[in-house]
């Protein structure tokens, strides 16, 4: 009796121990990754100033010049434009699906969104090369009287926006579905039309959720690699317009890691790029969470 009792306690304790270890591991994971990247980028940080690495636009690894600005700016361009394209689409779609459409439409849309979300990014890349790049080159170019190859910030943004739409849309649908019906009823009962209800009441109530959906979409977009890399052109220059090619950070790392390692410190600058990527994505995430908290406090 006593023996079994102890054994069970022991087993309980062991289970408990394992769970705790797993939990701690998951919590520590970001920290471990961050520290690893920092450790690996230490060589470059000890010979170049942070400001030089981040804000210099001269990228000549052979002559020991490692300015990441063109890559950082390319990333920001591609990401922001993809959000500008996808945000209104997602918002209007989510409002339509949750407020106007019949229930079966939403039921139908759920698997469609999931399928879209599950498509591997390399397929989006191929699709981008086959459809988007020629579209930008043959349709958008002539529209602006320009000869474009099509490999550009715009193509990257278009592909990226399609990729993040299911992601943002899923969150937004949840956000709008979680609003209480009584709120709609309250607004309607004081004489608001359906659209006034949506515009002045529901969107306002959902605002923290909307911010977080966009913020999480943004961080998702910022880190996306393969699909963007395939259509964005990968030219090291600070882009000054959407028709120009760009070279986002993730593409830099993916294209070059394992190659050209004979150049001194090349390995280290790539690790530092990864660290920058990591920090920026984390900041996006944090910012969207802080935004939620702030807005919720306000309401």
């Amino acid at each position: 009796m006593g023996f079994f009792q102890t054994k069970r306690n022991l087993r309980n304790n062991i289970h408990h121990g394992w769970m705790l270890i797993c939990l701690v591991l998951v919590i520590l994971m970001p920290l471990i990754i961050g520290l690893g990247l920092y450790y690996k980028s230490y060589p470059i940080l000890s010979t170049h100033s942070l400001a030089e690495l981040l804000f210099s636009s001269s990228w000549h690894p052979q002559s020991n010049k490692f300015g990441l600005l063109p890559f950082i700016l390319s990333s920001l361009w591609v990401t922001l434009i993809s959000l500008i394209i996808s945000a209104p689409i997602c918002l209007l779609t989510a409002i339509h699906l949750t407020q106007y459409a019949r229930k079966w439409v939403l039921r139908l849309m759920h698997p469609v969104i999931d399928i879209l979300a599950g498509i591997p990014s390399v397929i989006f890349g191929v699709w981008g090369i086959l459809i988007i790049v020629p579209f930008v080159s043959n349709v958008v170019g002539p529209l602006f009287n320009k000869h474009l190859s099509g490999f550009s910030i715009l193509s990257g943004s278009l592909v990226l926006s399609v990729m993040i739409i299911p992601f943002i849309l899923n969150i937004l649908i949840e956000v709008f579905r979680s609003l209480p019906t009584e709120l709609t009823e309250a607004a309607l009962s004081v004489g608001a039309s359906k659209w006034q209800t949506v515009k002045y009441v529901l969107v306002k109530k959902a605002f923290p959720g909307i911010i977080s959906a966009f913020g999480l979409g943004l961080s998702r977009a910022f880190g996306e690699t393969i699909a963007v890399l395939m259509v964005v052109g990968n030219v090291t220059r600070i882009p000054t317009g959407v028709f120009q090619p760009g070279y986002p950070l993730p593409a830099l790392i993916a294209n070059n890691y394992g190659e050209m390692m004979s150049i001194p410190q090349y390995d280290s600058i790539l690790m530092f790029s990864a660290l920058v990527l990591f920090v920026i994505v984390t900041l996006f995430n944090l910012a969207s969470r802080i935004a939620i908290v702030q807005v919720e406090k306000h309401h």
């Binding site: 229930k103 209480p180 009584e182 709120l183 607004a187 309607l188 009962s189 004489g191 002045y200 306002k204």
Partner: protein, 253 residues
């Protein structure tokens, strides 16, 4: 009935999908009186209430037949703008749902969207309705604060003021005190007895004591049907239906 009829419901049947929720409802609701809707949970009280201001339209599985006549107009089948019909009725729900804006704007919202934008006029009206809902003294120094910073009881009074602000003639209240403490509940009840001077009030409750305190007229529902209706003192002292009698006695024993 000796008083004029405000709402006249005839042969109302309502289905949600295949479920027959309201069955052959025939009731009359007198003007400027408190009519209490009683009945056990799930019998269709909320659904009946929402039929009166067409909030049932939100559910596209709902089918209705029959008529609901308010001021000589069948509001179920009218071609008129239904926001106009809804504005005739202030709504108070089970729990308060203030709009996501400040206290002032919660009341001004309905006024603004119906075109009253004059600032001085708005200020006056906001004050008047807050006073009418007995919230002015507590809220006058914090009109710019978010409505959710009020206590639940205060929020419910705010929702009442919000409903009054669009000049309704009817107040529909669905268990408006169920989330409130006894004192706040009494405050709302007290207000209703004041408001019936100028408004027709339909109050859903399943607190019999509350019904006894405020009802002028009672409608008793059971499984989607109206099984008894009449002046409160008659129904309470001499219920004709077995279920009504059981309900009333059960609540006393």
């Amino acid at each position: 009935m000796d008083t004029p009829v405000k709402i006249d419901i005839k042969d109302l049947n309502l289905f949600i999908g295949k479920n027959h929720i309201l069955k052959d409802i025939n009731v009359t609701i007198p003007e400027k009186k408190i009519t209490v809707l009683l009945g056990q949970s799930g019998c269709g009280k909320t659904t009946l209430l929402k039929s009166m201001n067409r909030l049932i339209d939100l559910n596209n599985q709902v089918r209705v037949s029959g008529s609901i006549t308010i001021d000589n107009e069948d509001i179920l089948h009218t071609r008129k703008d239904i926001t106009k019909i809804r504005k005739k009725m202030g709504l108070l729900s089970q729990r308060p749902y203030p709009l996501p804006m400040n206290i002032y704007n919660n009341i001004a919202f309905g006024l603004r969207i119906s075109g009253r934008k004059n600032r001085i006029n708005l200020d006056k009206r906001v004050e008047r309705y807050l006073r009418q809902a007995h919230l002015w003294d507590e809220a006058k120094d914090r009109l710019r604060d978010s409505a959710s910073s009020l206590s639940i009881g205060q929020q419910q009074r705010l929702c009442l003021a919000r409903g009054l602000a669009v000049d309704p003639v009817i107040i529909l209240a669905d268990e408006p005190t169920s989330a409130l403490d006894p004192i706040s509940s009494m405050a709302i009840e007290q207000m209703f007895t004041e408001l019936k001077q100028s408004y027709t009030i339909v109050l859903v409750t399943h607190i019999l004591q509350q019904a006894l305190r405020v009802a002028d007229y009672v409608i008793f529902m059971y499984l989607g049907e109206v099984i008894e209706q009449g002046p409160a003192h008659e129904v309470f002292t001499n219920p004709k239906n077995v279920v009504t009698r059981q309900f009333i006695q059960g609540n006393f024993s």
